[in-house]
């Protein structure tokens, strides 16, 4: 599989060794929490299904214990188990083993459902679906992300971040269908994406990414409000957001036939993040179409000649991967949360 997945197995989750990890399953969880992820994930592969179920049921019983300390310890172990199964799931997906991926993700999900029943606003419960979605976005696994996202919704109300991730899944699927010329197994609906982004903005009005994405889906849907929303992303926003807003404005203006203004927006984008390539490619393409071949070739040469520019220097690269850029931060958060 060509897709590059953020290796959850490479996350270093450090946790004080829990007491009494005497079974292979308990040891695997313990190893994972100590940071021996690869060993833990490999050990998990050797544990029989019925043993996992038995241990899981025991953990659930302890979670209901009236001894608050004991129950908290069980909850921490469960959070470790969630991460262990999730890491195993993505390792399986990277190997192309969809069956095991689903089985392991379901195992993790069962734990999360139990934790959610205790407190549906618990940070771990809220953050876990985000890390799964972000990792699926990184691998452009939009069909799985869509299925997973539907199950991850909280009947008590979704968080702004989850809504953002759900919208990004729709947007990615649409893009892959329409521009990448391949069938990702799900069409992607810009109207649904728009709804998610609007809800996210109601919950978190300062969420600049939701605003940018809302503007983008609106212009893709030829909604005049789109340019207005993109225009709200000005110099107060961080550079990557400004860059993308100008890039999307340029694209919209180009489609409308306003080539001079489109060129100006692309040029502005290029000046905001000079190491990004997408604005130069857009500029070159526009000039090529207008017959300015020499200028187009110059644009290509100037951006493609740049050496020592990191691959990931282009905000478009990250934008096109939905929430993938947040995956590392999410994992860091979860790492802290599996401490007892």
């Amino acid at each position: 599989m060509k897709a590059v997945l953020v290796g959850l197995a490479s996350c270093h989750i450090v946790l004080a060794s829990p007491q009494g990890a005497t079974t292979p399953y308990g040891e695997a969880i313990d190893l994972f929490r100590r940071g021996d992820e690869e060993l833990a994930v490999n050990q998990l592969a050797r544990i029989m299904f019925d043993e996992i179920i038995r241990e899981r049921d025991a953990l659930f019983r302890t979670l209901d214990s009236k001894d608050r300390e004991e129950a908290e310890r069980a909850a921490a172990t469960i959070r470790g188990a969630v991460m262990l199964h999730t890491a195993r799931a993505f390792a399986a997906l990277a190997r192309g083993n969809d069956g095991e991926f689903r089985y392991q993700l379901q195992a993790a999900g069962t734990y999360v459902t139990r934790l959610r029943s205790r407190d549906h606003r618990a940070p771990f419960v809220q953050k876990w679906p985000l890390v799964v979605l972000a990792t699926l976005h990184q691998g452009r696994q939009v069909r799985t992300a869509k299925e997973f996202g539907e199950h991850a919704r909280d009947p008590g109300g979704d968080s702004a971040e989850l809504l953002l991730a759900l919208g990004a899944t729709e947007e990615m699927a649409w893009r892959i269908n329409h521009e990448d010329d391949v069938d990702p197994g799900v069409k992607g609906d810009l109207k649904t994406a728009e709804r998610h982004y609007r809800q996210a903005l109601i919950l978190s009005p300062t969420e600049i990414e939701a605003r940018l994405r809302l503007g983008r889906v609106l212009v893709l849907r030829d909604d005049a409000e789109g340019m207005k929303v993109l225009g709200q992303i000005d110099q107060r926003a961080e550079m990557p957001y400004q860059y993308l807003a100008r890039l999307f404005e340029g694209e919209t203006l180009e489609k409308r036939g306003d080539m001079a203004e489109a060129e100006r927006r692309y040029t502005m984008a290029a000046s905001i993040v000079p190491t990004a390539q997408s604005a130069y490619v857009a500029l070159a393409h526009l000039r090529h179409a207008r017959g300015a071949r020499a200028e187009a070739a110059d644009d290509v040469r100037s951006s493609a000649r740049a050496r020592d520019v990191p691959d990931a220097a282009d905000p478009w690269f990250w934008y096109s991967r939905g929430m993938a850029w947040r995956a590392v931060g999410y994992v860091e958060d979860l790492r802290r949360m599996i401490q007892p």
């Binding site: 060509k2 897709a3 590059v4 452009r140 329409h178 521009e179 990448d180 010329d181 391949v182 390539q277 997408s278 490619v281 857009a282 070159a284 393409h285 090529h288 179409a289 017959g291 071949r293 020499a294 187009a296 070739a297 644009d299 290509v300 040469r301 951006s303 493609a304 000649r305 520019v309 691959d311 990931a312 220097a313 282009d314 478009w316 690269f317 096109s320």
Partner: protein
């Protein structure tokens, strides 16, 4: 006659009367359209044809064509190599060897450029007659990252300069696009505005398939090898078709070298027809239809051109 501002790609042409060593490569010229044509019969190339064997229609209007001696036209070869993570290792080594084998087969007046693409598109060497420069660029190839196939295809097309030479864009990719800004249609539109011929080389993934055979009176389960086209195939199929090129498949990494040299040989065995458009609009999209007269064979040529 209204002067035709034919897209540079479609060549402000130039019927070759001879070859010059200076930058003005052609001694005399007539403004017109040049069409690069491949003729095959089964898997064999058909050689020895002349302009009289072709029937060319521009927007359905029969044109009076002449043939340019391919031998007389220098070649600009623009290599666009996929260097995403999946190419690392043996495939990259084979790719470099295949590229080097092409250099050995070029003529002194030919020029080469090297573009690599992964997450970013990188111009490792601009069009140059220097084989040494290209070899040096090959040495810098390293594979990692995503695949900006469409952006790279556009970049290669945009690098085609105004010289009235034949331009072959040779794209190697082993996977689907995962990082480009440009969409498929944007690149195809750009391709229509150039006269470059795009060939793509892909690795054919071979799998064993089982089927029930009733051939020759025998029945039963038979094993056969099927070739599965990678996802990139759709875009590359479309792009090569529009420009009159085609997708060539290497059966393995080791086969890349032979596939590359076969591609170059095929390009050299094409026919270049030229004509001054008559009876058609001086601007806009012109649909082309090229056929053989009284001979059998499959003609592959670009689908049309933009007159600007």
């Amino acid at each position: 006659m209204t002067r035709l501002h034919v897209a540079s790609a479609v060549a402000l042409i130039i019927v070759v009367a001879g070859r010059s060593v200076n930058t003005q490569r052609f001694k005399s010229g007539t403004i017109g359209v040049r069409v690069d044509v491949l003729v095959t019969h089964g898997k064999e190339l058909v050689r020895g044809l002349t302009a009289r064997d072709f029937e060319l229609r521009d927007e359905g209007v029969l044109q009076n064509v002449s043939e340019i001696e391919v031998e007389q036209i220098p070649l600009n070869l623009i290599l666009a190599f996929d260097t995403s993570g999946s190419v690392a290792g043996d495939r990259l080594r084979s790719l470099v060897q295949a590229g080097q084998s092409l250099l050995d087969r070029l003529r002194p007046d030919d020029r080469v450029a090297l573009v690599s693409f992964a997450t970013r598109v990188r111009l490792l060497a601009p069009l140059t007659p220097s084989r040494q420069q290209i070899q040096g660029a090959f040495a810098t190839l390293a594979a990692q990252g995503a695949t900006s196939l469409r952006d790279a295809a556009f970049a290669a097309l945009a690098l085609r300069d105004a010289d009235p030479v034949r331009t072959l864009v040779l794209i190697f990719s082993d996977g689907a696009d995962t990082a480009s800004w440009l969409g498929s249609s944007a690149v195809i539109e750009a391709a229509k505005r150039t006269d470059a011929v795009v060939y793509a080389v892909a690795i054919a993934e071979q799998r064993n398939a089982y089927a029930i055979s009733a051939k020759s009176g025998t029945s039963g389960i038979v094993q056969r090898t099927v070739i599965t086209v990678e996802e990139a195939g759709k875009f590359l199929d479309h792009l090569t078709e529009e420009t009159g090129g085609r997708v060539m498949f290497a059966n393995s990494n080791k086969d890349l070298r032979a596939t590359f040299t076969q591609t170059l040989a095929e390009f050299r065995d094409r026919y270049v027809l030229s004509y001054t458009p008559t009876g058609v609009s001086p601007t806009g999209w012109h649909r082309l239809d090229v056929k053989l007269k009284g001979k059998s064979g499959k003609v592959t040529a670009r689908r049309g051109y933009f007159a600007e």
